[in-house]
């Protein structure tokens, strides 16, 4: 198994192993979380496991990541995050001091996101089997959205908005892991995005689709959307916000920022008429929120085209490591 990077291989694992085993309807497993009808309400339910290396990085740690990641998955379902569970897999010998700090950061993150950690579990595994610490969190939220939020709602001429600048989390983690010493250091964007999403819903913005831009970055997220929506998408490369330090780091490392993970960024796909309203709301939370492209009616469906000065490039799901294609 080399199925880690959120690209093609993960996609194949889901399609070929998990979906055949578990899915009961074609809608299952197409989203970050499940929507479930319970008497008198609709809830969103999601789970995620966190295996980040290193455990602490500029702008966060595995604890804040485990809270925000699950909070954000709930937000992407148009839900108000309410309750979380946390499961810890701890390697024998892991310093209690470190654990205390990480748990503290989970408490702070939960407070900031307005959720409560209501249940949990701890397992200790043999030395050499746990890589320090793994955390799984599950979350329950109350669905606020009055209309379904899903790739199926995406229409031609809808616009694509990103909630802030891209690539900081992935680069911050990589810099910390590989000791790259960027000056100034790149700080992760790890943060809850429930508040802006709830505001968008409260103010009646018609959200056709929401997607957090985690593993695989913007590119992978948008490719997933166009593939399940059966539409094409065109992005304006110059409009995509990437901070100068991230851009510089990506350039030196030969990494495409559109494929770098974010932990506090999402894409919203809204009707053209709602774009201005959505932007003015998102702008209150992050000045870098901006329109980066639109959904196309013609052309090839299932493809995302990136328009640059030098022509229009097709974005692809990448299998694992980016292997050069230039011969």
């Amino acid at each position: 198994l080399a199925h880690g990077s959120g690209g093609l291989l993960t996609h194949r694992l889901i399609e070929e192993v998990f979906r055949p085993a578990f899915a009961q309807s074609p809608e299952d497993f197409t989203h970050d979380g499940a929507l479930i009808d319970v008497p008198g309400a609709q809830i969103a339910f999601t789970t995620d496991s966190y295996v980040v290396r290193p455990l602490v990085f500029p702008g966060g740690d595995i604890g804040s990541l485990a809270v925000n990641g699950t909070v954000n998955d709930l937000a992407m379902c148009g839900a108000r995050p309410l309750w979380l569970s946390a499961g810890f897999v701890i390697e024998e010998g892991f310093p209690v001091e470190d654990l205390r700090r990480i748990v503290g950061s989970m408490r702070d993150a939960a407070q900031a996101a307005g959720v409560r950690l209501v249940t949990g579990d701890t397992k200790v595994v043999e030395r050499g089997h746990g890589d320090g610490l793994y955390i799984n969190t599950s979350g329950i939220g109350a669905v606020v959205a009055l209309q379904p939020i899903s790739p199926r709602q995406v229409q031609p001429d809808d616009v694509v908005i990103v909630s802030g600048d891209l690539g900081r989390h992935g680069m911050a983690v990589m810099a910390a892991r590989e000791n790259l010493g960027f000056e100034p250091p790149i700080v992760s964007d790890c943060a809850p995005v429930a508040a802006p999403v709830l505001r968008l819903l409260e103010e009646g913005v018609n959200l056709h689709c929401l997607r957090d831009l985690t593993r695989g970055g913007l590119a992978t997220a948008l490719i997933e959307i166009v593939e399940s929506a059966g539409v094409g998408m065109e992005l304006e490369a110059s409009a995509i916000p990437v901070s100068a330090p991230v851009r510089g780091a990506c350039e030196i490392l030969g990494i495409d920022p559109l494929y770098v993970a974010n932990e506090g960024r999402f894409a919203a796909i809204v009707p053209e008429g709602d774009a201005g309203h959505a932007l003015s709301i998102l702008g209150e939370f992050d000045g870098a929120a901006t329109v980066i492209g639109s959904v196309r009616s013609g052309g090839t469906t299932g493809s995302v085209a990136l328009k640059t000065m030098g022509g229009s490039y097709a974005l692809d799901r990448i299998a694992g490591e980016q292997l050069p294609r230039i011969c």
Binding site: G254, I255, Q322, L323, P324, I326, C327
Partner: protein, 770 residues
């Protein structure tokens, strides 16, 4: 068994011939008609979906003479590949007729590539007394569009874009007259009945028609404007090649900073004023494909081009007139013009008017177009004379579809080719057909054009594939396309496909030693290969040797910046000590970049390993300070070749060291690179070192060939676009007693991959079923 009638009437015979090959759209039926009438034979000739069928009846001796002349007098582009003969009962009917086509059976007739204007048509266009005087769409049986205008096979006017133009009585008379050069010429047209020119402004406004449009285009070019011209296979962008400012404007608008432009000239004589021309190069320029031919530019050019046409490049790509339209333009202008594909770099050539208006509006000042639709866009072909043979580097207009016999093709299949230089191939009953070059599949428009090319080729050749072949690289666009086609997929290792392409061209079954040297292709172990020695015999293949791997810090970024690859190579040489040394490439980086590169090379962070010969060229280009950043594919390797060609002496470098690694040999280039870097530092001429590097590579090939001891050696992959390397390797291998084969009609680069994929997939299918 001979019919009894033949014995009863010994001097009257009737035979039927089924002819296959390039026999449609080339004047083959009129040729048969004239022969038959000449020999006093009765019968008929007609096109079939499989080729041409004819029956002749008459005296035995006349039939034998007819048969002999048929083979002897057939003239290119017509080509007889297969001829099957059957005796029939004489019918006693008189006269010889050309009957209309039948459209039964699976089409297997050659679909001819487009043919450049012939001498006869050119003479008419410039003859004030001729009714086709100044008519830009003059064609005959021997010239004009074919593949680019065909709707379905067989090739008949009603199944081409010419069906929109009803012939006038004069044209019809020629079409019906067996004595005419236009007898059954499906593209026949004249000013009264054929296509017409139109000149448009960038916003699409019609400015002028017919000859006024031509005059307007000529004026615009004289004034240094950029004209998008609808040519034979698609739109071309034209601009005065002497006008530096105009060329700069084209470069800026096309986002093509340095890649050389091709230049059109009116005649070989004019070509000679710009470049050195061997007789073979002249023939290649003048061939019916009218390709771009890469030539050595004259330093003492009588008619100098603007320096930014091919900056820093000792070569120049020239081409002659493709159509009478080009002839009329060039005749009026009297100066060379840049003629580059109507696209932005890497995108497919625009062919449809609306598409051109949309895509080229930011580039062109005027559109000179016409109302004959181009159904299948084909870009210009590119050739270079290497080792005494015109070698196809890009197989497109005039050459594609390219048909190669391959007896292993039994089930219909589609091979999807590579990624950056895309072209697909079909496998069908005994043949592989290579479609035209499409472009770089990184671009979304190219992907759409590629999908159309798959549809076109499948329908023209009536191929309903039973299997699909593609490259083994998981991220090639074609790998996804293959998965989506719903047929069994054969993933053919990149370098194996390179070797198989050459084996197919030369009908080799093996054993061969394949030298597959290119940029970077996905290897069988998931790393990047490109400096490979593979043995192939039937369906057995094995990697027997490779260049010692090194890192590409930054992946594709390293391919764009040879200085990064040099760091990868130096790191393999010196380890961390590299950073204390004063190598040229290091000076090209800032302190922060150096720190980052260090981390990348030490930890393999986004620094994939490769055994590529092409990338070793890049590293050498950087070490010799010939190219630190490449603005187009192959720029760095070309710089090393050009430097070597200008060398006064060959600086000898340490011999290749071949180290066994299990059952595979690793070629250790480190002593060579170390000596090269030291000599460069010590001030030895870059040119002499570049020459030494070429000699080292050739020596490596010979050493491995001797070690393997297989008499047939195949050279393939993009590195063999390098004339010096190819010629050195061939000479030395031949001196050592090896037979050497290389890609000549099939491009040695990834443009030929599809042929190798089709060949390999068929071999595997054959092994399973046979």
């Amino acid at each position: 068994m001979e019919p009894a009638a033949c014995l009863a009437v010994p001097d009257a015979q009737r035979i039927r011939l089924d002819v296959t090959g390039a026999v449609q759209g080339v004047g083959f039926r009129p040729f048969v008609y004239r022969l038959a009438v000449d020999e006093g034979l009765a019968g008929y000739v007609r096109n079939t979906a499989a080729g041409v069928t004819l029956e002749v009846e008459g005296p035995d001796s006349a039939i034998e003479r007819f048969l002999a002349r048929l083979r002897r007098e057939v003239r290119p582009p017509a080509l007889i590949e297969g001829l099957s003969r059957k005796s029939l009962e004489p019918t006693g009917r008189q006269g010889f007729t050309i009957s209309s086509s039948s459209s039964d059976a699976a089409p297997s007739a050659h679909i001819l590539p487009d043919l450049a204007m012939c001498e006869d048509c050119r003479a008419e266009v410039f003859d004030p007394a001729d009714r086709r005087y100044r008519y830009p769409f003059t064609t005959c049986m021997h010239c004009g569009p074919r593949y680019s205008i065909i709707e379905t096979a067989p090739y008949d006017r009603a199944r081409t874009a010419m069906r929109h133009f009803a012939m006038c009585p004069a044209c019809q008379a020629e079409y019906d007259d067996p004595a005419s050069r236009r007898f059954h010429a499906e593209t026949n047209a004249c000013p009264d009945c054929g296509p017409q020119l139109a000149l448009h402004a960038v916003d699409g406004t019609l400015l002028a028609k017919s000859d006024d449009a031509l005059q307007g285009g000529i004026e615009a070019l004289r004034e240094g404007r950029i004209v998008a011209l609808k040519g034979l296979g698609g739109f071309q962008l034209l601009v005065d090649a002497r006008n530096e400012e105009a060329v700069a404007r084209l470069r800026e608008r096309k986002h093509r900073p340095a890649k050389p432009f091709a230049v059109m000239v009116g005649s070989s004589a004019e070509a000679e004023a710009i470049a050195h021309l061997s007789p073979l190069e002249r023939d290649t320029l003048e061939s019916a494909a009218a390709p771009i031919v890469l030539l050595q530019a004259r330093k003492d050019a009588v008619r100098p081009l603007a320096p930014n046409v091919a900056p820093g490049n000792p070569n120049i790509g020239l081409l002659l007139l493709i159509t009478p339209l080009h002839g009329l333009l060039m005749d009026a202008l009297g100066f060379p013009i840049v003629a580059t594909s109507g696209n932005r770099s890497g995108e497919p050539i625009a062919a449809d008017d609306d598409e051109a208006f949309a895509r080229l509006a930011d580039i062109a000042d005027f559109f000179l177009t016409h109302d004959r639709p181009i159904l299948h866009p084909v870009d210009d072909s590119v050739l270079r004379v290497i080792a005494g043979q015109p070698t196809v580097l890009r197989c497109a207009r005039g050459l594609a579809p390219l048909v190669l016999p391959d007896p292993k093709q039994t089930q219909p299949l589609v091979a999807l080719g590579g990624h950056m230089k895309s072209a697909l191939a079909l496998g069908r009953s005994g043949q592989i057909v290579l479609g035209p070059h499409i472009g770089d599949l990184a671009h979304s428009e190219t992907r759409e054009a590629f999908a159309r090319s798959v549809t076109t080729m499948r329908s023209l050749y009536a191929v309903e594939p039973a299997a699909v072949a593609c490259d083994a690289h998981p991220d090639y666009h074609t790998s996804r396309v293959a998965d989506g086609m719903g047929h069994p997929v054969s993933r053919v290792p990149h370098h194996l496909a390179h070797v198989l392409a050459v084996m197919t061209e030369h009908a080799l079954t093996g054993p061969v030693l394949g030298v597959a040297w290119d940029g970077t292709g996905c290897g069988e172990d998931g790393t990047l290969w490109g400096g490979e020695f593979l043995t192939v015999d039937g369906t057995a293949h094995r990697r027997v040797a490779h260049l010692l791997p090194f890192r590409l810090p930054g992946g594709e970024a390293a391919i764009r910046e040879p200085r990064r690859t040099a760091v990868g190579v130096l790191h393999a040489l010196h380890g961390d000590a590299l950073w204390d040394r004063g190598h040229t490439p290091l000076a090209a980086f800032s302190a922060e970049e150096r720190g980052m590169l260090r981390a990348m090379s030490e930890r393999g962070l986004n620094a994939p390993l490769t055994s590529s010969a092409g990338r070793l060229f890049d590293a050498v280009a950087s070490l010799l300070n010939l190219c630190q950043r490449a603005s187009f594919d192959g720029e760095a390797a070309m710089a090393v070749e050009f430097a070597a060609q200008a060398a006064r002496t060959v600086h000898a470098l340490p011999r290749p060291v071949i180290v066994p690694e299990g059952d595979v040999m690793a070629i250790d280039w480190r002593p060579m690179v170390s000596a090269l870097a030291d000599a460069a530092f010590a001030g030895v001429e870059a040119a002499d070192l570049a020459a030494g590097f070429h000699h080292w590579l050739a020596e490596t090939i010979v050493a491995l060939a001797r070690h393997e001891g297989i008499s047939q050696v195949v050279l393939s992959g993009g590195c063999f676009q390098n004339a010096l390397l190819t010629e050195l390797a061939m000479t030395r291998l031949q001196e050592a007693g090896f037979r050497v084969y290389r890609a000549i009609r099939v491009p040695p680069n990834d443009g030929g991959l599809a042929v190798g994929q089709a060949a390999w997939a068929a071999r595997l299918l054959d092994k399973v079923t046979g």
